[in-house]
Point group: C2
Chain length 226, copies 2
């Protein structure tokens, strides 16, 4: 199923409410990029190519420590954008980006995008709203990592996933990447899922989970009991 550039952009929440006549300039500057699994999109410190919109596939944005440890900041799924903050703020890329599946992206290159943004007030407001949501997500991540223990974090992640799709949940990425996003090792994630399964809160199949006791899952997620 191939999407047109127009469809990709207009399905992206960040641009969904932009009027068609204001959308056209964006479509005109857009380029399409096909990425192989494991292919790097950019590295930390690179000049920012522009705003990427994921059409399909999956991209991970991650930071690398000198020790080699990596932290997955964002798993970017279809309809979501990445690098928009660096593009708008005029920063170099603050992290590395890598496709972790066969992926197609639409790119709105920095310079022409900024030119449009400087003249399109409506677009500007939409982007700002989107950025507010991103800030909120980041604050949520910080809260999660600083205030909750491993069990709560994992429970919360599962809870969030089931809010989107009920019943059987497919993990969006490899467990090691999910673990990193929660600032855990994959070993700890593995053990935690085991414990939740032993408690009868979830069933943990290989690549998918099923929530058995939503009540208890949520109470674990907010940090009560264990």
């Amino acid at each position: 199923m191939e999407l047109s550039v127009k469809e990709v952009i207009s399905r992206c929440p960040l641009f969904a409410r932009v009027k068609p006549e204001h959308l056209q300039p964006l479509i005109d500057i857009a380029t399409v990029h096909r990425l192989e699994p494991d292919q790097r999109v950019f590295n930390q410190g690179d000049p920012c190519p522009g705003v990427f919109i994921v059409a399909n596939g999956l991209v991970r944005i991650f930071k690398l420590a000198p020790t080699g440890k990596e932290y997955v900041l964002h798993l970017v799924s279809p309809g979501q954008t990445f690098a928009e903050v660096a593009a708008i703020g005029g920063y170099p890329c603050p992290a590395n980006a890598q496709a972790i599946a066969e992926t197609t992206c639409v790119l709105l290159p920095t310079e022409p995008f900024m030119t449009i943004l400087r003249t399109q007030h409506e677009l500007c407001l939409e982007i700002m709203t989107g950025m507010c949501a991103w800030v909120r997500t980041l604050v949520g991540l910080l809260e999660d990592i600083t205030l909750r223990d491993a069990t709560s974090r994992v429970a919360r992640m599962i809870s969030d996933l089931t809010n989107t799709a009920a019943g059987d949940v497919q993990l969006p990425a490899m467990k090691k990447h999910m673990a990193s996003h929660l600032n855990l090792t994959s070993e700890t994630l593995s053990r935690t899922l085991r414990r939740l399964a032993d408690l009868g809160v979830i069933e943990s199949d290989n690549q998918s989970l099923r929530v058995i006791d939503q009540e208890q899952l949520k109470s674990i997620a907010v940090g009560e009991l264990m």
Copy 2:
């Protein structure tokens, strides 16, 4: 030293580049608030009163866990703003705000502020730039907390403080609040400062620090050796 509302707004980086004629509407809606030490400005979940600009004093923005543990997300010093993301995004307050000194704030109330923002493209662009910087800060915090150990984090904090003011550094807030911001207990911060002092990297007076060996401090900050 009393500042006028106009001065407070125009000294704030977020509004500094807004042209005087566009500044006036903001001045017109602004209200001034005087806060006693320890006084709450708002609590998590409250409807967002608007954009606060700190004129002088200090405000801490913090999250509270059910366990009672708190995480200091932001120590807001004069010239900085807080609650702007909630105001613009239309969210309730995502955290608690409390003055931790005699503080004066200028408040731009949500509704009129948003009305202005919806018509002032220039202002919108400025705010967006400011929000990019805030995202960057948050990502930096996440990186710090997930990728570095206690010693590196403390070294980095000191290093950042000395970039602003050379030589003798006054800590902007109580050590327990600084510790919380780095996701450490005050005990760990205390011990870490002790260790850095024993290594001859810093001198740790009561409320102020002095950097002795900037080279080594930076190498510890990026995670090399100990």
